[in-house]
């Protein structure tokens, strides 16, 4: 009887055990290891490495110009990607929120990029920017924005915009889907009442739609910002961080250090900085929210 009772008490833990074991072994233990690598000299091909070196990696980071460039790029990459994805996604959601003939077909077509694997979106856009097979350089020349059909991705001044455009293309559907779901949960009679009271379209949007959407917007933007700041695939595929580290963001710089230079210690030190920055961002937002809620 006690064995049976013990089994009953253990039941919920048994259900969660497989998932928990997987996460601990593959994610949490490596996370701890990674943090400790940041303070050790860990190079894959150097059998003599492995010593504790304290803050040496971080001192090296301080004077690493490529790191500071990657930090600035992370801000531009994340800020531009999130704001463009959000604005265009909101417009698309508003357009799709009305009933009209052909809506189901349009929805299928405009959400399609969301299904494209990220490596393929990256390659696809890299090809579009390639003057040999892609139309974009030729169009830019026709528009007078470029003097001759060159590859945007090899111009250090503008190269980061290539992955940003690919990211916007790929991410609009995500925002549109989430915001459309939130829009459709707004009761229609509120709009009717407002219209009877003589509120115009803009007024209805400002005083009904926006307040209803605000919680969804806030949480989606917060989560997406963190996700995009960590999202290195498109940059690794389209520019490999080049030319000359000009398009490196922190996440892709970590990958480059680990994958190409096999310097796991230095890669982990950059990763620790990125983790701290994301934590600071999340805490700052939560503090801001607390202030706003209190003021209300």
């Amino acid at each position: 009887m006690t064995a049976r009772r013990a089994l009953l008490a253990a039941e919920p833990y048994l259900y969660t055990l497989p998932a928990l074991l997987l996460i601990c072994a593959v994610m949490l233990v490596p996370l701890g290891l990674g943090l400790s690598y940041a303070f050790h000299d860990v190079k894959l091909l150097d059998p003599l490495s492995g010593d504790f070196i304290g803050l040496d990696h971080f001192r090296e980071l301080w004077s690493d110009a490529a790191f500071w460039q990657a930090l600035r790029n992370t801000l531009l990459w994340t800020g531009a990607s999130v704001s463009l994805q959000f604005c265009l996604g909101l417009v698309l959601a508003l357009l799709l929120n009305r009933a009209f003939p052909g809506r189901a077909l349009f929805q299928l077509l405009v959400f399609l990029p969301w299904a494209v694997p990220s490596f393929l979106s990256g390659l696809n856009w890299a090809w579009l920017f390639n003057p040999v097979v892609g139309p974009l350089p030729h169009w830019l020349v026709s528009l007078g924005l470029m003097s001759q059909p060159d590859n945007l991705l090899s111009d250090p001044r503008y190269a980061l915009w290539g992955p940003i455009i690919a990211n916007v293309w790929w991410g609009i559907p995500f925002f549109a889907i989430t915001l459309l779901a939130a829009l459709q949960s707004i009761p229609a009679d509120i709009y009717e009442a407002a219209a009877i009271d003589g509120a115009g379209a803009w007024r209805r949007f400002r005083s009904i739609t926006l307040p209803f959407l605000a919680p969804t917007m806030a949480i989606t933007i917060l989560l997406r910002t963190v996700w995009i700041a960590n999202f290195a695939d498109l940059i690794v595929i389209m520019t490999k961080g080049g030319p000359a580290d000009s398009t490196q963001i922190l996440a892709s710089y970590i990958f480059t250090q680990a994958f190409q230079r096999l310097d796991f210690g230095y890669a982990s030190a950059i990763a620790a900085v990125l983790l701290l920055l994301l934590l600071a961002y999340a805490l700052a937002l939560m503090a801001l929210r607390a202030v706003l809620v209190r003021r209300r």
Binding site: I23, L88, L108, V116, S121, W127, L128, A181, Y191, A258
Partner: protein, 279 residues
């Protein structure tokens, strides 16, 4: 549904904007398809025409018959398929536990799962390599399956939990009163009702595993154990002039996820709406 009658001017603008969105969404994929069908001699001579003067399936034929892509495709199907099964099983169990029980440490476990969703995954590329390498799990499909299963379990668990939450508890309790044990109740009553949810979770995990690049690149460098993304990227850096073949391979990589997408997309917004209304 809207109250005010809209003028034809409004609808012209509406369709114009939607048309622009559709063009932006579809043009890159159209171009992929176009180059994959363009014969090599026309690719350079005809420049950036929207459609070649005649088309060929030669690139597809050589990708299927004379390249390693069928092997990469097979590897990706194995990795993504088994990952989807494993992660969905573990997630279904965990989601059921979260949905049906209150127990000590539940918030802690949920918290651990949330943490895994927030930190940069590139951070653990190096440690995972060091852990798997002595176990012989680098350059192996098994290693990738374990890693991908773990990455997808947290999100899949929350997804499954939301599906279980939608099933009334009374159904199970009735079965328990009839003398079935909890497992039998789970298997005969809950599982059939969550089949759509299970299918969706399987699809999401499959798609995520199918698309993953960076870990596959780091862990599996030998071409025998390469997944499709790694193979395609290696092909691009080795034969960077054979655009027709690369894009044909790209179109083939798109097929499995597009099939899933067409099935799921009508339910995406509805499912999220139901969730939102329920609060």
């Amino acid at each position: 549904m809207s109250v005010a009658r809209h003028t034809s001017k409004y609808w012209a603008l509406h369709y114009l904007l939607l048309g622009a969105f559709a063009m932006f969404a579809l043009f890159p994929l159209f171009w992929l398809l176009k180059v994959s069908l363009t014969p090599n001699n026309l690719l350079y001579s005809e420049g950036v025409r929207l459609w070649p003067s005649h088309i060929t399936f030669e690139h597809y034929a050589s990708v299927v018959a004379r390249s390693e892509f069928p092997l990469f495709f097979r590897n990706s199907v194995i990795v993504s398929g088994i990952t989807a099964l494993l992660a969905t099983l573990a997630a279904a169990a965990a989601g059921y536990g979260f949905s049906r029980f209150k127990f000590r440490g539940k918030h802690f476990i949920v918290g651990l799962m949330l943490i895994t969703q927030m930190f940069p995954l590139v951070m653990i590329i190096a440690p995972i390599f060091r852990l798997l390498s002595p176990l012989g799990l680098t350059n192996s499909l098994t290693g990738l399956i374990i890693v991908y299963s773990a990455f997808n379990v947290p999100f899949a668990s929350f997804l499954m939990q939301s599906f279980f939450d939608a099933i009334p508890k009374d159904l199970e309790e009735a079965a328990l009163l009839d003398g079935a044990n909890r497992f039998a109740a789970f298997w005969r009553i809950i599982v059939p009702l969550t089949l759509p949810g299970l299918a969706a979770t399987l699809g999401f995990v499959f798609t995520a595993a199918w698309s993953e690049l960076l870990f596959a690149l780091m862990l599996n460098s030998s071409s025998k154990a390469s997944t499709f993304p790694v193979g395609l990227l290696a092909f691009v850096s080795k034969f960077s002039v054979d655009f027709g073949q690369m894009m044909a391979a790209g179109v083939l990589a798109l097929l499995p996820v597009c099939v899933f997408f067409v099935f799921i997309q009508r339910h995406l917004v509805q499912g999220l709406t139901a969730g939102a209304v329920k609060g």
